[in-house]
Symmetry: none
Subunit: 243 residues, 2 copies
Amino acid sequence: MNNLALLKNIRVVLCAPRHPGNIGAAARALKTMGLSQLYLVGPQRFPDPEAEWRASRATDVLAGATVCTSLDEALAGVAFSVACSARSREVAVPAVTAREAAAQVIDVARTQPVAVVFGNETYGLTTAEVNKCRLVAAIPANPRYSSLNVAAAVQVFAYEMRMAAGDAPPQGRPRAMASHDEVEGFYGQLEAAMAETGFLNPEHPKKLMPRLRRLFARARLEKEEVNILRGILKALRNPKKRG
Amino acid sequence: MNNLALLKNIRVVLCAPRHPGNIGAAARALKTMGLSQLYLVGPQRFPDPEAEWRASRATDVLAGATVCTSLDEALAGVAFSVACSARSREVAVPAVTAREAAAQVIDVARTQPVAVVFGNETYGLTTAEVNKCRLVAAIPANPRYSSLNVAAAVQVFAYEMRMAAGDAPPQGRPRAMASHDEVEGFYGQLEAAMAETGFLNPEHPKKLMPRLRRLFARARLEKEEVNILRGILKALRNPKKRG
């Protein structure tokens, strides 16, 4: 797959969009950047003539849009997902800029489907929605008025993804990313080891596990790395006798 | 002047905009990126309630907009100007990407006023208009559909200018990155623990340490995270007796 063809592996998900004009403008934004997969979770009005008008010559993207009833449905089958949100808040996933997120998206999209998720015009994404994703990304903005229109935010992210795809060096061996289950298995073992040794007090866990999750989420663990980390934990708990 | 204050030195010029909605959306795009100077050359309808609606909370930018009768009037007093155009054509000025243009704009805007010029929704900028500028810049786009909405193009350029001006990381508190020495101290402790438990054979270390270094380098460890990881290692080697 060449670098620009991989853009077809990226789905853009709009959660509960209110204005059909924004859906149309988002479709146009995607097509101008070479993306084509639009997912709509519970749109208030769709299809709608205003969406068609704002889509301009991207009505094919609108016509091919997938309407879902839940974010889980829209994320089914993706290997990586980014929540786009301007609000800073306490979430369990690492926060990066749109540019950094785009680089990570392109990396995974070479081989597997990826989702980029945008919130509703009025309230954005809920914390529960953000936590369903693997990363939260913000467009650096004026702190006194950081509220981009949702289609404008889609345009900036789609642009950054196209730029990242264009910039990407020819691919080497694709890294086998650890699956959700494998990473969770490692976290479980780490938490148990910390509790057993008294480093973590299960009654007062503080922010220890969320901080460690954030660290390892940033690294985006590979399968083999999870195996190494689990091997180290196991060896530390049950040292071999050495000759 | 600090890097973000210089954004006030950039005027965004819309030539002959037809739809007041696009004027409003452009005002919003500017304000989200910390720009404030909007110039309108011969707008078809302005002021207009649709512009107000699409501007959202950027109506101050609309209210402060300068209406001109010619592009020359809008460019009066600027030291540098960029024409934004997707069309490639024979023009007398050099052509660059939006990202490259943004870097040049920021460089000049430190000390002098600069203009970024956008065309009409239907026919873009005329060749005569482009030739009044010092540079022509394009947003890299899908060659089969490169026509961004004018306010979407304003958003991307304004975003690139803010990025070029150098923005703070997305989350408020800057992360205190671990120093070289701190990270090396952690690696040393990790290697010693692995050797002590027999997980690593110092005579046949294979690629174990390089792989772990690569993993943690990707995460770009913070000071506090190094402290947590070292604490975990120490606890695993010397578990507390638990009541």
